[in-house]
Amino acid sequence: MRSLPQAGEEIPRLEKEPIGKLQLLHYAGASGDDNLIHVDVETARAAALPGVIAHGMLSMGFLGQLLTDWAGAGAVRSIAVRFSRMVRLGDRLGCRGVVREVREEAGGALIRLLVYAENQEGQRVTEGDAEVFLRD
């Protein structure tokens, strides 16, 4: 049986590689989000964007990975984020999670966390809350 985390504890960080064109192309295909602002610079500029921007959902996917790397596949009960800042091509995101609350339940514990992804300048791009269930 593992020991439970404490409120205020940070879970292991996830440092992602810089987001490249190929990742955006693969994510567009795998997710079904075919909005061209994520892969085509002309379309992005026509939409008054500075250039190609990453799917917000890709950064949320990174936060999902942060949680399952720590708690295991299938452990996430909820995740809710807001996309507060655009993620650009080439950005390198770091994902962080901080335990907010630990509630023991039958068979394990429900852990509430604050999660966020920040870019290489330390700006939070995507942030929110999550719940994971840790089994005994």
Partner: protein, 135 residues
């Protein structure tokens, strides 16, 4: 016209099969190395974004959409072979004044049930629908 008259509009009932290959491709695109994800057994937490559908009467110009927020709640994880009955709806439409003028927010909700009718997941998507770009 995007306004509050859209609130309550619903999609048809959609049937989605959670495919092993789709889970694998999704995990690979994120760069998620979790073996159960990479083997396509269990779907990563944001996988429901791949289960796409439409709401009749809600037609949006993609270039005007900014994704503002996303939420998923699970009763259990999604697994390869699951067949989900998904219905989506317009939950809210409201205006907010931003630095670039008025912005329209649209909240779309969805729920996926198993064949016996039990809820498996719920999702909520908030988008900002920008004004027509100045030409």
């Amino acid at each position: 016209m995007i306004d509050r008259s859209l609130i309550g509009r619903r999609s048809e009932l959609e049937l989605h099969e959670v495919e092993r290959g789709a889970i694998r491709r999704f995990a690979a695109a994120i760069g998620d190395e979790t073996p159960l994800h990479r083997q396509g057994e269990i779907a990563p937490p944001t996988f429901p974004t791949t289960l796409r559908g439409e709401i009749p009467g809600l037609e949006l110009d993609k270039k005007r959409i900014l994704h503002a927020g996303e939420e998923y709640r699970y009763r259990r994880p999604l697994r390869a072979g699951d067949v989900l009955r998904v219905v989506r709806r317009v939950e809210d439409v409201y205006e907010k004044r931003g630095s670039l003028g008025p912005m329209t927010f649209i909240v779309l909700a969805a729920e996926g049930r198993d064949p016996s009718g039990e809820i498996v997941y719920e999702s909520r998507t908030t988008i900002i629908y920008r004004q027509e770009a100045e030409v």
